[in-house]
Amino acid sequence: MPVELKMPALSPTMEEGTLAKWLVKEGDDVKSGDILAEIETDKATMEFEAVDEGKIAKILVPEGSEGVKVGQPIAILAGDGEQVSAPAAESVSVEQPKPASAETPSVPEPASQQDEATPTPHVFETAARDLVADVAATHDEPEVPEGTPLVTMTVREALRDAMAEEMRSDERVFVMGEEVAEYQGAYKVTQGLLDEFGPKRVVDTPITEYGFAGVGTGAAMGGLRPIVEFMTFNFAMQAIDHIINSAAKTNYMSGGQMRCPIVFRGPNGSAARVAAQHSQNYGSWYAHVPGLVVIAPYSAADAKGLLKAAIRTDDPVVFLENELLYGQHFDVPQLDDYVLPIGKARIVRPGKDVTIVSYSIGVGVALEAAQELMTQGINAEVIDLRTLRPLDKATVLDSLRRTNRMVVVEEGWPVCSIASEIISIAMTEGFDDLDAPVLRVTDKDVPLPYAANLEKLALIRASDVVEAAKAVTYR
């Protein structure tokens, strides 16, 4: 019987994609392994191969279609001599892409036709989707003078633009890392940089984190301004010796003689169903180290303004991005040179009843919780730390002075965390302002499990933040 070919899920975060190109046409015979189409995911352009032999009876989704949902039928493959009738009308409709929320997660459709020859691909279950939903459901105003024109872009694009702008203005800036050049970035963050700046300044490395972190650090000592991309910060564990022993300590050990202006950047924290070795937040690890600047932005505007600042500063910077945020859209000021100050937290949402302190993707969760709290009569103030070292204590303590209650939200482990540090600061420097003990909402104290249900239990949730905020306000 004819087989429906369905839009495949080609990456952990893919919910929909662009059917970029058909490489076959109706009437073509195909055999197993033939490439049928090119599909663009949020990360890359992938080839879609035939599994079964047959004849392309009908192409249901024309090339160039954006926003094709995972699991949607895109073509019909017929066996020898088979007649093909048109499929049900509703399954061929292509949704128009929604510019501001193209990657807004949706609840996966249940597989409806169980008796088919090919199983229906569907978006897998992950708690990461809830984190992303919190981000998408809340709004974040960038920090700009009134009247500044804004443009909507993803965090991914903002990071790329920051690097490109700094590379244009300073010859010493270059990018190195795994797949940054010809592959266009494992997460597409360096997309287009090779074309503009060439292989001298956009350098593909072997898979050798310890080695290239050291090479980058040495180049920085020699006077260049490297941006070292780690495919994820989990892999930077191999390189942490150079980040700490070589980069962070050099200026002090040399009595201020030898600078190390380098940016180590890449995604940090949990992604979607990638389990323990690919899902760790290193914020507190690096924030522990004197001699480092540690930045962990939430919005696209902050990502851009702070990455530009990180590239310019003379200190070594650990710049912690978040894979789940890469595809999220935010307003970014349209300015020639949008640079933000390092070491300054931001009040993302003013409020008076309780202060919720967070950073990176936790800010989305905090904002979502704040919306819910508002319906329950609690007006929460949300602070995005943005820089984890040096920490902007003043903004945190000032907010505490006004609300007298505090909750820290951190997508990461609880023990010896940024949350621990904020609690310590509140206790030692804001004790008289506290009307309740500071609570923290963090991931559970376990390696991140793979199973969807366990993953959900391990990660932070807005509802937990709501509960914590109610507890500290005694409601």
Binding site: P8, L10, I39, A44, M46, E47, F48, E49, V51, F174, K200, T205, P206, T208, Y210, G211, F212, A213, G214, V215, G216, T217, G218, A219, A220, M221, G222, G223, L224, D241, H242, N245, S246, T250, N251, Y252, M253, S254, G255, G256, Q257, M258, R259, P290, G291, V293, T313, D314, D315, P341, I342, G343, K344, T387, P390
Partner: protein
């Protein structure tokens, strides 16, 4: 079902072609004046280190202190071929000798050893962490092997800036077993970076002899898997070292990429001041001292060139005075002000 595009067919190869190699270096033909200069530099290191050992015994130097006595010919011979201001140098924690050979003031080195504000790192680095960016001397690194990727990065900078410089990266027979060394070798050759890896094989990684630690004890061959040629040189003969330096510099400056030189050398003292060196016999040390000492070797050469013994004695006296003065300076000059505790952590203020 779906995959990233890339197809390749690999034909198995049982044996790759040999790699390009430099000509075997010749012993440098030094003039009397040149050799006298090298001799003086080696002697300065010897006397400086002896004095540092004394100051350590007096409690004026703390922590770890790794002396270079016995290995002087390596640093002096190599540095004599480098161009200060164009080339760069980086080494591990046994760094006093390399700094002296590079012409850095003995006073500020000794003052760093005693932890004084006038020390080259304001007293904040100590024996293992000394730098002189003005001289292109990038440390002074305390983590075994870390200087190898860092030096490769300095070479990356030379090529990036097209400044004609070469990075001389020192490492020992201990560092050569670190994984990051091979990560660096791979990238250095992949990108043909101008870097010379000078392996100072003093036979013992702390207390573990090369035989007990290295499956391939011929360290000059350690680059073969990355197509980096290697030379093995007598590191106790300053002119042999200099001859090798010239060949290696020509190799790297002409764009042929990295090169390894293994120098067979020996340290007379323990690994650090706290090492009783029980892992080798007194006779072994004595034998090297008597038959292979680099300074005695140069002395014999100089006498053969017609230099008089009293001239050598005069040099010795002169060197002693320099070292005594450095030690006195290092004792008398003040410790860092308490306010220095918080300076130089970050460059920017945020």
């Amino acid at each position: 079902m779906a995959r990233s595009a890339k197809k390749s067919a690999v034909a198995p190869e049982t044996r790759g072609p040999d790699i390009p190699r430099p000509t075997q270096p010749k012993r440098y033909k030094a003039s009397k004046e040149e050799l006298l200069k090298l001799y003086r530099e080696m002697l300065l290191i010897r006397r400086f280190e002896e004095r540092a050992g004394q100051l350590y015994g007096l409690g004026l130097i703390g922590g770890f202190c790794h002396l270079y006595i016995g290995q002087e010919a390596v640093a002096v011979g190599l540095q004599s071929a480098m161009t200060v201001g164009k080339d760069s140098v980086i080494t591990g924690y046994r760094d006093h000798g390399h700094m002296l050979a590079y012409g850095i003031d003995p006073k500020v080195i000794m003052a760093e050893l005693t932890g004084r504000e006038a020390g080259i790192s304001k007293g904040k680095g100590g024996s293992m962490h000394m730098f002189s960016v003005d001289h292109g001397f990038y440390g002074g690194h305390g983590i075994v092997g870390a200087q190898v990727p860092l030096g490769t990065g300095l070479a990356f900078k030379h090529r990036y800036a097209e400044d004609g410089g070469v990075c001389l990266t020192y490492l020992g027979d201990g560092a050569v077993n670190q994984g990051q060394v091979y990560e660096a070798f791979n990238m250095a050759k992949l990108w043909d970076l101008p870097v010379i890896y000078a392996i100072e094989n003093n036979q013992y990684a702390m207390g573990t002899s090369i035989k007990r630690s290295s499956a391939e004890p011929l360290l000059y061959r350690r680059g073969e898997a990355h197509r980096i040629p290697g030379l093995q040189i007598d590191g106790m003969d300053v002119l042999a070292v200099r001859g090798a330096a010239d060949v290696a510099l020509e190799w790297t400056r002409s764009g042929k990429g990295p090169i390894i030189i293994e120098f067979l050398t020996y340290r007379y003292r323990g690994h650090s001041m706290s090492d009783p060196a029980k892992y080798r016999t007194r006779e072994e040390v004595q034998d090297v001292r008597e038959h292979r000492d680099p300074i005695s070797h140069a002395e014999r050469d100089l006498l053969g060139m017609g230099v008089k013994e009293e001239d050598l004695k005069a040099i010795d006296k002169e060197i002693k005075d320099i070292v005594v003065e450095a030690a006195k300076f290092a004792e008398d000059t003040p410790e860092p002000a308490p306010s220095e505790l918080y300076t130089d952590v970050l460059v920017g203020s945020y």
